[in-house]
């Protein structure tokens, strides 16, 4: 599938386009966006942090959709189900990556800006739980017995997808009752900073799609190699000695 020349060309073009957008985003964020009043240049990490934060809330739903598709096609069209499973694992891994980068960049920003590495406020706690949920998804894939990996992880993905809004609501209600220092402030963004925000959001979204695509292709190749090996094994067992 990925050996098709058209797809390769598209992938290379997408990579080039992503890099271009990321470079523009870098220039916007580091050089063109106005310096923030209180935090100075430290605030520029926000453009990366926000992009990864927003995307880390989008990719889990790609995982959810792929998992539901897998469960739907599992008995009806096993080959499509395999593709869905590959997309599910690819998007889960990129979710863990983006959520991890969001948390790490937040901590790097928080320590110099507010003096603390971490605060159990609503946003950080929710993001941490999101990260934990998808790490548990990846661990389940590793620990499941072969042959059941797809099904078990798809069901966990559905439960995790249901959990994300529940986590968001409950943690927010908790922090309405017991306010904690808020990282990031809730002020609205100065319009002069918006281009940097959007270029980075677009760039990291394109990059995320690219790496999901690459991981998907990798997983598909692994699945096809497994199928070929299984077929060889079956044929070998069928050969009658002459």
């Amino acid at each position: 599938m990925a050996r098709s020349p058209i797809l390769r060309v598209i992938a290379w073009l997408w990579l080039a386009a992503s890099v271009v957008v990321l470079v523009i985003g870098f220039r916007q964020a580091i050089f063109l966006a106005p310096t923030e009043a209180t935090m100075g240049n430290l605030q520029r990490i926000f453009y990366y942090h926000l992009a990864h934060a927003i995307l880390s809330l989008v990719f889990p739903y790609v995982n959810l959709a792929a998992s539901l598709a897998f469960l739907y096609w599992r008995r009806r069209d096993p080959l499509k189900a395999l593709s869905a499973d590959a997309l599910a694992v690819a998007s889960a891994e990129v979710t863990v990556l983006y959520a991890g980068i969001c948390l790490a960049s937040g901590m790097l920003w928080g320590k110099p800006a507010w003096g603390i590495w971490w605060a159990w406020d609503a946003r950080l706690t929710t993001e941490l739980i999101l990260w934990l949920l998808y790490v548990s998804y990846l661990l389940l894939r590793r620990f499941s017995p072969t042959g059941q990996v797809g099904v078990l992880s798809a069901v966990l993905a559905v439960f995790a997808g249901i959990d994300v809004p529940i986590v968001f609501m409950s943690i927010r209600w908790w922090r309405t009752q017991h306010p904690a220092p808020v990282f990031g402030g809730d002020g609205s963004i100065d319009p002069a900073m918006l281009p940097a925000v959007f270029w980075n959001l677009g760039g990291w979204a394109m990059w995320g799609i690219l790496i999901i695509g690459l991981r998907f292709a990798l997983e598909r190749r692994r699945q096809l190699a497994e199928q070929d090996a299984a077929l060889l094994a079956i044929e070998a067992s069928l050969e009658t000695p002459q």
Partner: protein, 229 residues
């Protein structure tokens, strides 16, 4: 009403099996007692009475969480001996009846442990409930159901896995974090009397919502899990 009959059959089977050996219940009871003692050493209730009341809700639920995990893994191993699991899969009754029966059985076991634990807790932590104690009769079952429904479901994931005991906490705990938050907040609100009744009610409502959502999801998906190959 045949479905209810199936659920009842599965429930009675689990209760009967448990009654014969009483492994799970004894194990859980002693485990939870040990947890209470360890937490008492760790947090010193006598030295910090106010703080103790504020954290006792948390300690109660964390203790129950870990105790129920020890029992949950075991609850499915019963189905693995003598190829019982294959028989269950071939049986005409819906798989969700097996699931509900087991959840109800686990619920009864954990509630039994709680009934023993609560007085011990009150004694060791010198607890006086400052809020409306009757609310605890609502919060404890709702919270226990949240733990048991997800725990029983995820324990079934490990049925044929290598690291079954390790797998359950890894997938169960992240998902249950909001439920634990709700139960602890509600319980602490009642114990300390710090929260308005309206706030306690919203935690209880959220917990009930969590229970309903995950009970539905568990019933719908259990058949998929049981026939995972």
């Amino acid at each position: 009403m045949r479905y209810a009959r199936y659920v009842l059959d599965h429930l009675l089977k689990d209760l009967r099996l448990e009654w014969r050996s009483r492994d799970s219940i004894n194990g859980m009871l002693f485990f939870v007692l040990l947890v209470v003692v360890v937490f008492s050493i760790a947090f010193d209730p006598a030295g910090y009475p106010t703080v103790t009341r504020q954290i006792s809700g948390g300690i109660l639920w964390v203790g129950l969480l870990f105790a129920s995990m020890t029992a949950l893994n075991q609850s499915w191993t019963r189905e693995q001996r003598n190829q019982v699991l294959e028989a269950q899969r071939m049986a005409p009754s819906p798989a969700s009846a097996l699931f509900l029966g087991k959840v109800l059985a686990n619920m009864i076991f954990v509630l039994a442990v709680e009934a023993v634990l609560a007085p011990i807790f009150v004694v060791f932590f010198n607890l006086q409930v400052l809020g409306n104690a009757w609310l605890l009769a609502l919060i404890l079952p709702l919270g226990t159901w949240a733990l048991v429904i997800n725990g029983t479901f995820f324990a079934a994931f490990g049925l044929r896995a290598r690291n079954r005991e390790l797998l359950l906490p890894l997938i169960f705990l992240p998902l249950s974090i909001p439920a634990v938050l709700m139960m602890v907040q509600a319980t602490t609100g009642v114990l300390t009397g710090d929260l308005d009744p309206i706030q306690i009610r919203s935690w209880i409502t959220m917990l009930a919502g969590f229970d309903i959502i995950y009970t539905t999801a568990g019933i719908l998906f259990f058949d998929t899990i049981l026939n995972a190959e």
